[in-house]
Amino acid sequence: MELADIAIKFGLIIVIFLISLVIAMYSTYAERKIAAFFQDRVGPNRAGPFGILQPMADGAKMFLKEEIIPANATGFLFIVGPSLAIMTACIGSAVIPWGQSVTIGDRVIPLQVTDINVGILYIFGVVSLGVYGVMIGGWASNNKYSLLGAIRAASQNISYEISMGLSIIALLMVTGTLSLGEIAQQQHGWHWNVLYQPLGFLLFIVCAFAETNRTPFDLPECETELVGGYHTEYSSMKLGFYLFAEYINMFISSAVMATLYWGGYNYPGMDFMGNLLGPVWGPLFGTFVLFMKIFAFIFFFMWVRWTIPRFRYDQLMDLGWKVLIPLAIANIVLTGIVITLLK
């Protein structure tokens, strides 16, 4: 690899990293504004015009608050918990194809950090690793509520990972590849996977809600039963990292859903627009479209949060094991039958 290539990759990683952080920051603002809209309130409107500087103010508040490590907490692991949560949230973006390759002069720059040929499984691995941040933090707090929250998070994540994996298997039978770059390419020209896998997408989005601990699956931090769940003992930026990780997870899972099922950076009339805009702005317009899809999903996440109440814990487990897993297996069998008949 040339030095220039390395520099470009490095730049791409930094840009993606910054974008995910900024989107996570403004997701907190968007969530409050959307919540306000749903509940017929005004929402944050003091910091800057329309409260646009609210995330900065929150960030400053988080950084300036006192760091408290409880006396009976396991000191090192107490810090490892939130660090692990934010790290696993950030590394998921490495395999997502953000757009077609940009051509500047004779240099082709792929808008994807790395196109490993087990891309989906990598995402899956990162998702399954995400629970450690919550578990370690909850256990190290040495608090019953935190421990219960951590245990709920662990059992919830494991239960919903299974149906998520099964729904992905049906998708893989259609695409025939594990590489996210290729999957995004295949969907060019209205071959969006959601048209072939509607049930698979439904299962995937339900599992994505559960894996990101969003309402109606936010039982790990259920305040009516568990005070604050796994982050009861956390304060200042360590709490901030947990909350931030949730928003980054939401962003990444929206990106994964858009890429896997909703055509990724593809849009109708793409070839025409690509010719019109040229080799640099054409692919970048595709990236813009991908981000519009991602924002739509993030809005959907928030819409659900402020519409549907939380599940009870036994309902959650029933849904995961008795509804989603049989449906996912039925989806695999159905997909297999259809593929065999069409061959």
């Binding site: 040929n117 899956f124 691995g125 629970v131 578990m135 494991i158």
Partner: protein
């Protein structure tokens, strides 16, 4: 090659920490790190699929369950069984003899013959799938039946015996 030695050192280092850590939760966390170094070993051997499956299944699922169980058990110093001195001595003696036997048997075996793969890209998903579903189809299916029977057994153990409660 130096990467291999570094990672191998880390594997052994973390596995020693697994057995020497006082707190069982810490030893599970070291076990997670050990499995992570195994994942790197697989990647170094160009076995991508095995690496990522090791990552998902062992690090992501099995060890979460381990951690889950350990968090529920209250392991205090008071409840820890204290073994008498003679038992400890016998354990050290027995383990030492086992080590002598292992070292002797390994020495008599001589150096292992490294197997050179015909296809260096065997670990990639496509090639692995072809090999599994052609050459090794029967063992593959038999092992899936084995897993199914284990699952049925677990469900059987977990369900309450309705006759006993009446």
């Amino acid at each position: 090659m130096s990467t291999f030695y570094f990672i191998a050192f880390l594997s052994i280092f973390f596995s020693i920490l697994v057995i020497s850590a006082k707190n069982p939760v810490h030893s599970i966390l070291y076990l997670i790190l050990t499995f992570f170094t195994f994942t790197i070993h697989y990647i170094l051997m160009n076995a991508q699929f095995l690496a990522i499956v090791n990552f998902i299944v062992y690090m992501g699922a099995i060890l979460v369950l381990f951690l889950y169980t350990l968090m529920l058990i209250n392991l205090n110093k008071e409840s820890e069984p204290v073994k008498p001195f003679m038992v400890k001595l016998a354990a050290v003696f027995g383990a030492g003899i086992l080590m002598v036997v292992l070292v002797a048997s390994l020495k008599s075996l001589g150096t292992s013959q490294p197997v050179v793969l015909k296809n260096p890209d065997l670990g990639l998903v496509k090639n692995l799938g072809k090999v599994l579903f052609n050459e090794f189809l029967l063992p593959f299916e038999v092992s899936s039946v084995l897993l199914l029977s284990a699952m049925v057994g677990a469900v059987l153990l977990a369900t309450k015996d309705t006759k006993a409660t009446i």
